[in-house]
C-alpha cells in the first residue's frame, strides 16, 4: 500500500492545490524583529530540572528545619536569640541554613515566575510583576546571606 493511499484526504484538504492554496495560519507566537536569531537555549528545560532536583534536596533541609525548630524538645517555645546563637556557632548549621535559603528562594522565585506567566496576561503587567519578584528575591537572598555570615553572638 502506497503512502498516498493510506492518507485519507478529507473533502476540504483535497480541494487545495497549487492553483488553490490553503489559507496561511499565523503561528501563535510569530517571530518579530526583536526575536533573537538564536532561540535554541535550554533555559526552560534547565529551570524544569532545577525545580525537581532542588525539590529533592529541599525535602531533607526543610523537613529537618521544621523538626528542629517546631517539634523537637519544646518547639518554638525555646527559640530566642540564645538558641540562634547556639546553632550558628556551628558551621554545619550555617551551611545548612545557607543552602536552604538559596535553594528555597531560587525554587520559589522560579515557581512564582511560572505563576505570573500563567495569570498576568498583559505584557506590561507581566514584565513589572516579574521585576518586582526578582528585586524582592535578590534582596531576600542577599539579606539572609549577610545575616548568616555576619551573625555576632556578642552584639550586646
Amino acid at each position: 500500500m502506497s503512502v498516498e493511499s493510506s492518507v485519507d484526504l478529507t473533502a476540504s484538504s483535497a480541494a487545495y492545490g497549487p492553483d488553490n492554496p490553503a489559507p496561511v495560519i499565523e503561528p501563535p507566537r510569530a517571530r518579530t524583529k526583536r526575536t533573537p536569531r538564536n532561540r535554541r537555549t535550554n533555559f526552560e528545560m534547565h529551570a524544569w530540572l532545577f525545580m525537581r532536583l532542588s525539590g529533592i534536596v529541599l525535602v531533607v533541609l526543610v523537613i529537618g528545619h521544621l523538626l528542629i525548630q517546631l517539634v523537637l524538645d519544646g518547639g518554638v517555645s525555646r527559640i530566642g536569640f540564645a538558641f540562634v546563637a547556639g546553632r550558628w556557632a556551628s558551621p554545619f548549621w550555617q551551611v545548612w541554613d545557607l543552602l536552604m535559603l538559596w535553594l528555597a528562594m531560587i525554587h520559589g522565585t522560579n515557581g512564582m515566575r511560572t505563576v505570573i506567566n500563567d495569570y498576568a496576561e498583559r505584557d506590561n503587567t507581566r514584565f513589572w510583576l516579574k521585576m518586582l519578584l526578582y528585586t524582592a528575591s535578590v534582596f531576600t537572598i542577599l539579606l539572609g546571606t549577610l545575616v548568616i555570615f555576619t551573625f555576632d553572638p556578642n552584639i550586646r
Binding site: L70, G75, V115, T140
Partner: protein
Amino acid sequence: MTRRYDGRGRWSVIRPGPTDSEAGRPLSPHPEGISVPAGTLYRGREGMWSWVAHRVTGVTIFFFLFVHVLDTALVRVSPEAYDTVIASYKTPLVSLMEYGLVAAVLFHALNGLRLIAVDFWGNGPRYQRQMLWTVMGIWLVLMAGAAYPVLHHAAEILFGE
C-alpha cells in the same frame, strides 16, 4: 461528564443525553450524549485539584519565607528586637498559623516528590492517582504527629494546663 478534544484547540463537554424515564419520552437520538462547548471553568479530577493545591501551597510558602528572612534578620539589630518578635510567635493565633504552614509545607513536599516520580519513573503516570492517595495518607499521619508539638503550648494557654 467527559471531555472531548477536537485536535484543533477546542474542547467540548459530553453530557449524557436524558434517559427514557427522565425525559418522559423515548431515548435521545444521540446515544453517546450531546456535545456542548465547554465553559471556561475546568473542573478536573484529583490530578487537577492536587495541582491547584501544589500551586497555592508553593505561593504561600514563598510569601512566608520572605517574612521569615526579615524576622530572622532582626538578630543583627539586637537580641531584644529578635526576642520580642519571636515572643509574638508563641501566641495561640500564630501557633495555629504555624500549624497551617506545616500543613502547606508537608503537602507541597510530599506532592512534589509525587510529581518528580510522575516525571522520572516509567510507571509514574500510571500510578499517579494511587500516589496521590499515598501522599494524602502520609500527610494525615504527619499532621496528626505534628499537632501535639506545634499546638500543645497554645492549648495550655487557652485551656489551662
